[in-house]
């Protein structure tokens, strides 16, 4: 029969942990692995963000998103245009900005944002 006192002693003995000669090196190796995983994860997230941005921008260009939006809002544009024409005859509002130029500006804006994210990440890593 094992008595309670011995069980308590056993628990105390198990709780005692000898120090190892390479304790410091062992802890450093875990720190290094944690840092390595963290850096890798951040780069993966950053790369995924940039990839997503590039894909989004290219999809925007390929699908001619602005044209579709224009087609959908054609009715309201005509109303607006008519209103402005009444105010300033001879000037068409939508004629001021070409849709191709607008798409290029949106894509350029997204690219600038993506580059900004990349630069921020690089500076953080440095």
């Amino acid at each position: 029969m094992v008595d309670l006192e011995f069980e308590r002693r056993l628990e105390r003995d198990f709780a005692l942990a000898a120090s190892f000669p390479d304790d410091v090196a062992f802890c450093r190796s875990i720190d290094a692995r944690l840092n390595q995983d963290w850096v890798l994860r951040r780069w993966l997230i950053g790369a995924a963000g940039v990839t997503g941005g590039v894909i989004g921008a290219s999809q925007l260009l390929m699908n001619n998103f602005v044209h579709r939006v224009e087609a959908l809002s054609q009715g309201s544009s005509k109303v607006l245009e008519a209103g402005f024409s009444q105010l300033r005859p001879g000037v068409t509002l939508l004629g001021l900005v070409s849709s191709d130029v607008l798409v290029a500006w949106v894509a350029a804006g997204l690219a600038v944002v993506a580059i900004g994210f990349v630069l921020t990440r690089v500076i953080e890593e440095i």
Binding site: F6, L16, A18, F20, D23, I30, L34, D37
Partner: protein, 192 residues
Amino acid sequence: MSGLQSLASHHDVDLANLAAAGDRRAFGELVRRHAAGVRSLLRRMGAAPSEADDVAQDTFLTAFESVSEFRGEGAFAGWVKKIAARLYIRRIRREKRLALLAAESAADEAPIKLTDAVTRMALDEALIQLPPGERMAVTLCYGAGMSHSEAADVLNLPLGTVKSHVKRGLEKLKVRMTTPETNAPSGRLAHG
């Protein structure tokens, strides 16, 4: 440096909360506090030193990933030791070494009498002499703080088998570790 000093004065639960918020320095302090305990436990479970260190590393990486699940209801040491025990058992199961533990301890083993214990043996020396199943069961229950049913679940053994492993293991340990006339320190872990 002052940052490290201030972390050293924190309670484990506070450090775990900081780590859950992404503070890796706080988690580093937890590693410094509990690494030796985890490594000792794994060696006591029967892992070779290099294997114990591999599993201990995986343990702390796993603990960092799931530190937000630590609610501070028990000791951090117990929580991380249970992770270590589960990882080690998963590893030996994968390597098909777990079957050894299911075997009943050798029936033909000569019973140990109190008079056989010439000197009081340290825990680690006594553990080494136990059959693998008894050693594992005793270490899970008294070292990793698992209940019998938790140990049975982890080991995938019937509860009765685990209970008998623990009972027999404790009896042998008691005989080997108890000699009234000596006062040698116990619980020392031989590391090589």
